[in-house]
Amino acid sequence: MSTIKEVMMSLPGLFKPEKAKGWNRVILFDLQGQEPSQWTLIVQDGTATIEEGQTREPKLVISGNSEYIVQMFTGEVPPMKLVNAKLLKMKGPMMDAIAFSGLWNLPKKY
């Protein structure tokens, strides 16, 4: 299984820039589990960048175990399954939480 760092660093490549024009947000991954860590995702002017740690004040916080984030972005588990089972939690405007899920070219292994 990929590490959380590998997954986080892959996010800019999975990002759909055409869906995020004008959608500027700071999103924090606040992770526990196998690899406790924090990652700041900055979506700005149609590009996504990732920084280790909390580097900016987020508008949306995604929390849960790092292994679930890995499973989500590597396409092993559908994102909504993780959210519905409350294995991942999103804190912030619901609009942003839902829109976030549509910004990625996720592989599907399920």
Binding site: A20, G22, M94, A99, G102
Partner: protein, 360 residues
Amino acid sequence: MKTGILSYGVALPRYRIEAGEIWKVWKNLSTSFFDLLSIGERGVLGPEEDTLTLAVAAAKQALERGGVGTEKIGALFLGSGTSPYATKAAATVMLDALGLPETALTSDIQCADKSGSTALWLAAGLIESGQVDYALVVAADSINRHTQPGMVLEYVASAGAVAFLLGKENPIAMLEAFATHSHDQNDYFRVEGERFIQPGAGFYGWVANWGLLDHVVPAGKALFEKTGLTPADFAKFAVPQKTGIRPLMTMGKLELDMMQVLPYVLTAQIGDCGAAGVPLSLAHILDFAEPGERIGVIDYGAGAGCDAWSLVTTEAVAERRPQSGLVIQQLEDKIMVDYATMSKYEQKYIQSPHRLSNFY
């Protein structure tokens, strides 16, 4: 149709308040509603700022971007439910402030939150029929000034203005089709002599958006039937966004894709801009639109009615893309204030109607 949008302009209050500041004073809503309804920050009127000043600012930007001489404007419509005047057209003040010709057909148009859409299509009819060559339409509201302190509406009540310059010569987007639906439904109203907007169905009506789907669904479906289009034929939609629930309800019932809608919802950033709300979302879309995109507009007004319409961007949308004053830039250019300052700026403190000065 040969009529389209030549340019647009936006004006938002620079002052903002975070929902938590309001909650600290009233504690009248479970904070879990903030995320559920996508409540975040909302606009606060500045001193001497109101529907009219915002409307003039937006109109000036549209005129500057449009490059059409003011002497050519044949009609000016202000779409608003919060005109500073109960009797007297506010649009005539705009006419003078903007230096538009006295021969221009000038009027206020009121249909609550969809006042702007309705005004736009009335103006388009004048242009399409050859009665005027250019028309300026402004959607503007100051819902915040007209919201009672302590009502939950206060968490989102905001203000803003969006102006559209219409004509036939090299538009950035061609107007395509229009459908509407109206019947009496008393969801939000303000009677004569009353300053504050009342929710006809109370707290439940606010959360459940009573009235919305009774109009949005028939109007939206009518647009699709009239044009033979399906939601998949559209790139993006600007939809009602008084709170973050409205886009989800609209999206679900009209079977729109979430990524056609959600990236253009600005509720958490600026709140409920009333008549300027959906036009603001449209302006945000136009700021980044590519040529050939079909955009759907679904604009709901309390009372109630819904205008659903479509437009298609042209090559000019990329050629004449605004370089400054984008919606996102105006949203990010803000000064946060506390509840007391908000109350002062929005003139919520009781004062004598005979007061002549701030100095005594």
